[in-house]
């Protein structure tokens, strides 16, 4: 259905018939894309948030931790995948690890910034009413740092959705597979365009979900300007 139609004369930038005829493939790639993104950000959060807590406690660790994360962030995604794939094998694993390494910096930085911004008076008050260090962390420091952490998670998620497409170079790119396939398939524009739009929409949806989750978790901030 794709090949013969995609001549120069009949190669629209967008076509609904492409979307409806390939709905199942589009859905499968979008799900694959979304799951990879969620998994990568979740793993990165599980690593970066505790590291952020540690860095806000042990001050001298903050520099080396943030420095390492920003070096990883500076390495181009394509290069990272190209380094990981020959070692780990082609497919999902190197892409996942690459995405995790990328997402670390944003989450780590926002966690540290958030914890640093907690009002010392609030921490003192919590200690004054007899809270131990763990209680202070769970009841005062983390809730106060939450908006900054959620902002980091949102930024990491949006960036990761766009980065997944680069995974096509090592054979696992979610919607990126469709972009590249359309390119190789006589420049089938509708396929590339649909995958690109789907990618932006996915980033938007995941961002909205995280925004809503952050809002639900911080009821005391409602009514203030976001």
């Amino acid at each position: 259905m794709v090949t013969a139609a995609a001549t120069a004369a009949d190669n629209p930038w967008f076509s609904w018939s492409y979307v409806t005829e390939n709905a199942d493939v589009l859905w499968a790639r979008t799900t694959e894309h979304a799951l990879l993104t969620i998994e990568a950000v979740a793993i990165a959060a599980l690593v970066a948030i505790p590291l952020g807590l540690l860095a806000s406690r042990v001050r001298w660790l903050a520099g080396p931790l943030l420095g390492t994360a920003s070096i990883l962030y500076t390495v181009p995604s394509l290069a990272l995948f190209a380094i990981l794939a020959p070692i780990m094998g082609i497919g999902r694993q190197p892409v996942l690890l690459g995405l995790v390494l990328y997402a670390l910096l944003v989450i780590l930085r926002n966690t540290v910034t958030g914890l640093d911004g907690v009002d010392p008076a609030a921490v003192d008050a919590a200690r004054g009413v007899g809270h131990g260090p763990l209680q202070v962390l769970a009841r005062v420091r983390l809730p106060n740092a939450l908006p900054s952490i959620v902002a980091g998670l949102r930024l990491a998620t949006v960036t990761t959705v766009a980065l997944v497409t680069v995974g096509v170079v090592v054979g696992y790119g979610g919607l990126g597979q469709l972009m590249f396939q359309g390119f190789r398939n006589n420049f089938y524009r509708a396929e590339i365009m649909t995958a690109t739009i789907a990618c932006v929409l996915l980033a938007l949806v995941l961002d909205l979900l995280l925004w809503a989750a952050g809002r639900a978790l911080t009821p005391w901030l409602r009514g203030r300007s976001a």
Partner: protein
């Protein structure tokens, strides 16, 4: 090529790391047409061209918006939205529009460098110390002079930071264009994937990564040099 690559087969013996070292140690990989040196030069030229194109657009617009203190919402929105757009999709779409090779590489990379430069220039100019601005106005400077002699010099730190980010980002975007026939070091990765020489893919990845890290380091120094000493603390934000 890459999308249809068969399941990875672990190379026997020395493995891909050994192959990568062999490739990087071979003088023939470096010299001659299509060698690492030529591709590296091409990579740098494409990066410079894209950053220049982006700067020509973003710096005047950012300075003008920052001077008038308007459009802040739009610049921030543009920066955030650009993060969600997959670069690969735009590069491939440009290619199907007939924009191929080096021209497409420069346009695509410049597109993604504009928001970074725009937002930093805007914030730098808008954030110039209001008392310095007031003093300049009090001296009778017209608006254009306030911008060029007060606001822009005060914005140097942030503009330089933006240029550094843009350079690193563009040098990371250029290899993506190699998938659509563009030049630069990305060709080593694309070719290696196409021919299933994974040692070469690894070597290409190392080269692209090294180039980005070196550029980041060089521009960190440049950023420090062009920032007037009293403003250096602000540049570390």
């Amino acid at each position: 090529m890459s999308a249809l690559a068969p399941p990875f087969v672990a190379a026997e013996g020395t493995g891909v790391v050994g192959e990568a070292i062999t490739y990087l140690n071979d003088p023939l990989s470096w010299t001659g047409p299509g060698g690492i040196l030529e591709l590296g030069r091409e990579h740098l030229a494409l990066t410079a061209a894209a950053v220049l194109v982006a700067a020509v657009v973003a710096l005047p617009v950012g300075a003008w918006l920052g001077h008038g203190r308007r459009g802040g919402g739009v610049t921030v929105w543009l920066t955030n939205a650009s993060r969600a757009v997959p670069t690969l999709g735009i590069i491939l779409l440009l290619a199907t529009a007939g924009l191929f090779g080096d021209g497409a590489t420069v346009v695509a990379a410049a597109l993604f460098a504009v928001p970074v430069l725009l937002v930093n220039t805007y914030e730098g100019v808008r954030g110039a110390d209001p008392s310095a601005r007031d003093a300049a106005v009090g001296l009778g400077m017209p608006g254009r002079q306030v911008l060029t002699r007060v606001e822009l010099p005060l914005a140097t730190a942030l503009v330089a930071a933006g240029v550094r980010t843009a350079v690193v980002q563009v040098s990371a975007t250029v290899p993506l264009a190699a998938l659509a026939g563009g030049g630069g070091l990305g060709q080593i990765i694309a070719l290696g994937m196409g021919t299933q020489r994974y040692g070469q893919v690894l070597a290409g990845g190392i080269l692209v990564a090294a180039l980005a890290l070196v550029l980041d380091g060089v521009f960190a120094v440049v950023q420090r040099l062009v920032t007037p000493a009293p403003l250096r603390a602000a540049a570390r934000r």
